[in-house]
């Protein structure tokens, strides 16, 4: 059925799509092509995909923004700098100090960063400065690179591991299934953020120095590893269920009869049949991973200062909400837009790939 204002957009089946587009146009088309067609009709999902790509492109262009517009690097501390605002010289950070006169302090208050300039300062400090004179807009873009990089990389690692475990668990069953399922249960038993903080804090203090692997505490690999680890069961469990349902199907038996080995059956027969679910789950988990990265960085267990991430920026601005709300507000808006766009697009993708699917990311 076609979408209406009251009904969820689902071009449920090929038959419904055929009714919509005409049977000839869908005959002989692969499910991927059909899904693409369904997705093309979901303008809301496509719009939000555009928003996400826009955010990604903006963040990727951060170096260009620095060289051509702001001329202030992401970690450039400019406490004593001045800018020209409407032809007037203005301190980036208001200057203060104390003189002791007859034992009595005479204080000139200072240390307050400049607010958003919106272009009045020739591209500098468009969104204002923080307490160290760093350009918020520049840090927002670089922070986005870190947050998105961690979120997407962690999702990719998490999805890859979860798919492998789900295939092993669902295909072999027995003791293998029991061990992997208990492993999922073990991680599932902890709230994601709590487990993330515990692992993130432990690893970020001294880094990881075991099994010949040496990673410093400030390396982005730490939050990536932590986030990808804590989300494994949230992808692995639903996929395991699908593999369990598929492993006794005729096409698997046919492959076995042809002498195909376990690895070939898992990756050549089963994996393509769960690929649509994998793709949907990946899209949805990216948003969760970005949110977790933000949470961990906010709590000091993610990206290390002075490098920005949207989480560290919110944390740094949290005690200046009354005087410089932009410090937290701008990264907050960026996070909300990113997560919203990924979730809306993820839902649209799920509806397109498998309209009857009940796949949802659930976590504690």
């Amino acid at each position: 059925m076609a979408t209406t204002s009251q009904e969820e957009f689902t071009l449920d089946t090929a038959a419904e799509l055929a009714a919509e587009e005409g049977g000839a146009q869908i005959q002989g088309k692969s499910p991927w092509v059909l899904a693409g067609r369904r997705l093309r009709r979901n303008y809301v999902a496509l719009t939000f995909l555009g928003v996400f790509f826009l955010i990604v492109i903006c963040c990727l262009l951060a170096p260009l923004y620095v060289s051509q517009v702001s001329h202030v690097g992401q970690n450039d501390v400019r406490t004593g700098a001045t800018i020209v605002e409407h032809g007037k010289k203005v301190n980036v950070i208001s200057q203060g100090g104390t003189k002791i006169v007859n034992g009595v302090p005479k204080i000139v208050f200072g240390g307050v960063p400049i607010g958003p300039q919106w272009g009045a300062a020739g591209g500098k400090y468009i969104l204002g400065a923080d307490e160290l004179g760093r350009d918020i807009a520049t840090r927002l873009l670089y922070g986005g690179r870190n947050s998105l990089f961690i979120g997407v990389t962690a999702s990719a690692i998490c999805t890859t591991l979860a798919v492998i475990l789900a295939l092993l668990s669902g295909y072999f069953g027995g003791i293998v299934d029991w061990i992997i399922s208990r492993f999922f249960d073990l991680i599932w038993a902890f709230p994601v953020v709590l487990l993330g903080i515990a692992l993130g804090t432990a690893l970020s203090v001294n880094g990881f120095h075991h099994f010949g692997i040496n990673i410093s505490g400030s390396n982005l690999a730490i939050p990536i590893a932590v986030i990808s680890f804590v989300f494994i069961p949230y992808i692995g469990r639903p996929l395991r269920g699908q593999v369990l349902a598929l492993r006794n199907r005729e096409f698997v038996e046919a492959a076995t009869a042809q002498g195909a080995g376990s690895i070939r059956i898992m990756f050549s027969e089963l994996l393509p049949n769960i690929a649509s679910s994998v793709l949907v789950l990946f899209t949805l988990i990216v948003a969760n991973c970005i949110l977790t990265e933000v949470g961990l960085s906010f709590l000091g267990a993610g990206v290390h200062l002075p490098n920005p991430s949207w989480g560290t920026m919110i944390q740094e601005g949290s005690n200046k909400l009354s005087t410089a709300p932009g410090l937290s507000l701008f990264p907050g808006i960026a996070i909300a837009l990113t997560v919203l766009s990924l979730n809306v697009f993820g839902d649209g993708l799920r509806d397109a790939l498998d309209p009857r699917a009940k796949i949802r990311i659930e976590h504690g």
Binding site: G80, G96, I100, F109, G110, V112, P306, S322
Partner: protein, 559 residues
Amino acid sequence: MRSKRTSVAIAAVVAAGLALVVSACGGGGSSGSNNTTSAPAGKTFPTLKVVWGTTDYFDPGLSYRLASWQLFQDVYLGLVVKAHVSCQTDNCAKIEPGLATTTGKVSDGGKDFKFTLRKGIKYSNGEPVKASDFKATIIRDFKLNSPGIGFFSNIVGVDACEGNPTKCADISGIVTDDKAGTVEIKLKTPESDFLYVLSIPFTAIVPASTPQKDTENPPPAANGPYYITSYNPSKSFVIKRNPNWKKNEIPAVPNGNPDTIDGTMTDDQAQAAQLVASGQDMYDENILPVDQLQHYKSQYGDQIKFFTTPSTYYFFMNTRLAPFDNLKSRQAVNYAIDRQQLVNLRGGLGVPTYNFLPPSYPQYKKITPDPYPYDLQKAKQLVQQSGTAGQKVTIYTISDVAVDLSTGEYLQSQLNKIGWKASLKPIAGANYFTIVGNQSTKAQIGFTDWFEDYPYPSDWFNILLNGEHITKVHNNNYGNVNIKSANKEIDRLDSLPPSQALSASTNSAWAKIDKQYSDNAATAPYLNGILTSFFSSKMDVSCDVFTDSQDDLAQFCMK
């Protein structure tokens, strides 16, 4: 002691304080003071709600933070106490009799101190205060590996305890007689500041039965007008009137106005200020958030007090570790920091300095010309010359005090600019000084500050920079600074007879030590602090008394 607050100590006060030590050492001992600081009648009130910074410990044998000491002044008393009077109007450096009847009888050329305990004083748990408790307290300090044990190195018979603190069993130089109530302390050499040492919390007497481990919930039994009934680390504390305190029992110690002091603990300056602004709490121990100083001052006017402190904020540099084992590297750090900008980071609350000793001391002599004016190019050259360019440097700072974190980030930026690869290691304030004071941490460089324990230069140079007092844990000399000639001179000045302690030549000698440490770039001092006190509109600010440990909560009163 380490941040965050303390009192004003001006030169005249210091002079007067030491004059008292001189007079005490002259023998005879002064009689009990008549200068009672008892609470004026009718000023008592049920509950004082305060918001407080987090601290390291709540055990007087272990804590070396002002946040604790400010509370301890009305809870844990020693043989003598610092006067509970305002530094602005009175001689706050004056030492007065505490649990002892006098400020002591000094003999043997300033090497023998004798005290007699007041009779009938009881701890909050009902036990009587005994002379032997003093010795037990000092031994307990050693067993705790207290950061205060360096103060006792001049006591006869302490060597065995210094060699193996946790096995300390006896100190022959402390002789006590419970029956007569006498405490005799024998020193190896005269010590001009020893009475001050006896007034700090490390020597505050606790019952001999107190466990010889960190005791915090509840903390050890008290002998002052108040006792701590509960302490939830980094969250809250409750202090109540000591049921065994007799009114005006010790004239120098106020009986106190609030019946209960209910404390909420946070290092979030904005939140703390808001709690007082909203009237939920009545006093904010934290410094006001620097970006809102103007707002608070214009909105709350006289409810906010600003005052200079005998404090120095500085960066320590570990002279045992590369790159700071190299003089040029340490000089580079000194050139790389713009002290005015570091003041600005604190909202303007500070005065730039190159000296280690604060300007309120008579021994202070401003180092001129400015030895390390801000010069990034020179700093870069020095890093190149030191052969340490490109080395990794880890900067330690406090994570939960916004301005300290910014200070760390500022230093990181500067060190990266001059050729090192600097990274930041923020640590929660409650544990920060304990962690960087542990040799196993191997802290390379970091933020620290110092507020005087008592107004004499030995409290600065002897504790913070004398290489002979470097310890494995609870080390106060974070940079492991060890300049042998300076150590020797500090020891010489510290053991001068009290009559020479404030002579012009002695003052000049201390100033030379200050210069020597500056020449060696032993640390990178950058400012002397200005602090804030914020009272709610319910409080009568005129009652506020800045004692040596800043605002004396016992003397707070309501409108």
